[in-house]
Subunit: 352 residues, 2 copies
């Protein structure tokens, strides 16, 4: 997708710092599974190649990267990270050079690139031009990028909300959850979120407009917390965590409810996933449990970008980011996602 | 729903044998949890009551009755069976007397009634007139009744088949499964079934038109059996068993696949359900897992009855029934469902 090989260009080569995978991971990843290496990059697209050379400005840290750190027999889908090469994920960047007709030097873009200073993107079909550079560019790692589109497509297209629906969102202050909650309010729903600290629970209520929220780490019984916050049950559960929270939510779903399953971060670092015990109740209650991934929804990206940019400008959607500075901070920021250390959308600012 | 109390009518009372629940059940039910009692029934609807008096001709034995044998704190939905009263379930019967404008003495009906000779049905909105009495009346406990409608609605409305889809059906020779397989062939799909004996597997291929089938009890690895029979994966899994088969099928689902979950008979007699471990794969593969129950689909019953009767008359749908004679045989027939003793749709013929 993005070649991180040394770029042999006519132009002078510059230093190119990158985050590379040292080994494939099982169980809980550590910073030590990655390292920072320094190579060189040319500042021009090599002759004869159709590609876009990007200077990466912001790196997005996303839970789905965990899956790519493991070695899969079939190569993985999306492909496993390659040992010794820069991690591949969404970034925001500036085009330095392009031989692709749709991109020009100076363009601001977001999309699939590398965790490094400079990436030669050979598949620019996974790059999107930034149409609202009057908003913070970093938003294109979050609310205006993949997590925002995930929230938008998952909530509206999979969840199919109706006004007055009772909505529950896990990982509710995260990059996706904070957007889902605000979209639910825009759609006229009652929305409850769970998060992993009192600080995050407070954010949900004060920043993101959640009607109610609880700290799942301090609840002894998630099912009881759901009954307390949603005594009439749940019409839509937007699930990013799986595991015990999903099991408890299933019991609290209303007839005809929808579970939009976007992620299962509670399970990513387990050698053996938890067993889900309450799926039976989808039969009497005619519940739809639907998995989705943002890859299937880029055809609505343009509509989404316009709508979301308008919400932000109108103050209907608020953003909380957790920004670390410098590529050296990237491995710790990524690992922090899995213990919930981040508050809001985790990203790395690459510096000037 | 159906009052099994003694009917105090002006007409002479007759003997009324019934199957009653002796105790609420946990774990695996036994015949001893039920008993045959003999009461009396009048042959007229008591004065002042709007009801339909039915002589039951065929009793349907269905897995969902298991749930009603357990005591639920909230009374259960549908309601738990009442100790000492006739079990309630679908039957085929003849109207002996009616004070309801839609039913007349002599009508043949199917619907919610009692496991007894005579039932005074006070909620006749759960009774349906039999429009194809040229077909065997017993078919209205199966292919033309609740199981047939379950297959039809679940396959077409939940499964959303497309021509060429790869379909997997568990409990494939049962009342629902045998219909699903034949509907899948009518829809132009490739269909594979699993069942619990070599005899049933043979039936699937010779009687019901399944393209392939396997005996799950003699396979050491259900996942391997699925890979062998459906090497390109599964577009639609029609699930009546849950548990290990569902877990294995999830891994073999294709992108965009649908799991229509109709029942989980493998779980009904467990004190603690098996944990489902592979639900995660619904995210990358964008799979929809949808529970449904026939209660939500009676609005399509008329269309279904016409279409299914035509298929039967055209020889496109074949029926295999497992019929026991006499109400005394009913408890064993019901229990037999849970060990798979029945071959085809299990029902009880009440005799002349």
């Amino acid at each position: 997708m993005a070649s991180s090989g040394e770029v042999k260009a006519a132009a002078a080569a510059v230093q190119n710092k990158k985050v590379v995978l040292r080994r494939h991971v099982t169980g809980f990843p550590t910073e030590d599974d990655m390292e920072i290496t320094v190579g060189t990059a040319g500042l021009r697209v090599p002759a004869g190649l159709t590609a876009v050379l990007i200077k990466n400005l912001y790196l997005s840290c996303d839970p789905w990267m965990r899956g790519r750190m493991t070695k899969h027999e079939d190569g993985g889908m999306p492909p496993d990270f390659v040992i010794g090469e820069a991690l591949v994920n969404y970034t925001v960047g500036k085009v330095l050079d392009s031989t692709h007709p749709e991109f020009n030097a100076g363009d601001l873009v977001w999309g699939m690139s590398g965790w490094e200073d400079y990436t030669l993107v050979t598949q620019p079909e996974y790059l999107y031009k930034i149409n609202h550079s009057d908003l913070p560019l970093s938003y294109y790692t979050g609310v205006l990028g993949m997590p925002g589109l995930t929230a938008y497509a998952g909530f509206f297209e999979v969840g199919k909300p109706k006004k007055g629906d009772f909505v529950f969102v896990s990982a509710a202050s995260g990059a996706v959850g904070q957007v889902v909650g605000q979209l639910a309010k825009i759609a006229g729903c009652y929305v409850v979120g769970s998060a992993g600290s009192d600080e995050k629970v407070s954010l949900l209520k004060t920043k993101f407009g959640y009607d109610d929220a609880f700290n799942y780490k301090s609840e002894t019984d998630i099912g009881a917390a759901l009954k307390r916050c949603l005594p009439d049950g749940i019409d839509i559960y937007f699930d990013s965590v799986g595991g015990a929270t999903l099991d408890a939510a299933l019991l609290q779903m209303r007839h005809g409810g929808r579970v939009a399953v976007c992620g299962m971060i509670s399970q990513y670092n387990l050698e053996e996933p938890d067993g889900l015990r309450n799926l039976f109740c989808i039969i009497p209650k005619a519940i739809r449990v639907e998995g989705f991934n943002v890859g299937g929804w880029f055809h609505v990206y343009e509509r989404f970008e316009e709508e979301m940019a308008r919400y932000i400008k109108e103050g209907k959607v608020t953003v909380v980011e957790d920004v670390v500075e410098g590529i050296e901070s990237a491995p710790a920021a990524l690992i922090g996602l899995f213990s919930g250390r981040n508050v809001g959308k985790q990203l790395v600012a690459m510096g000037p």
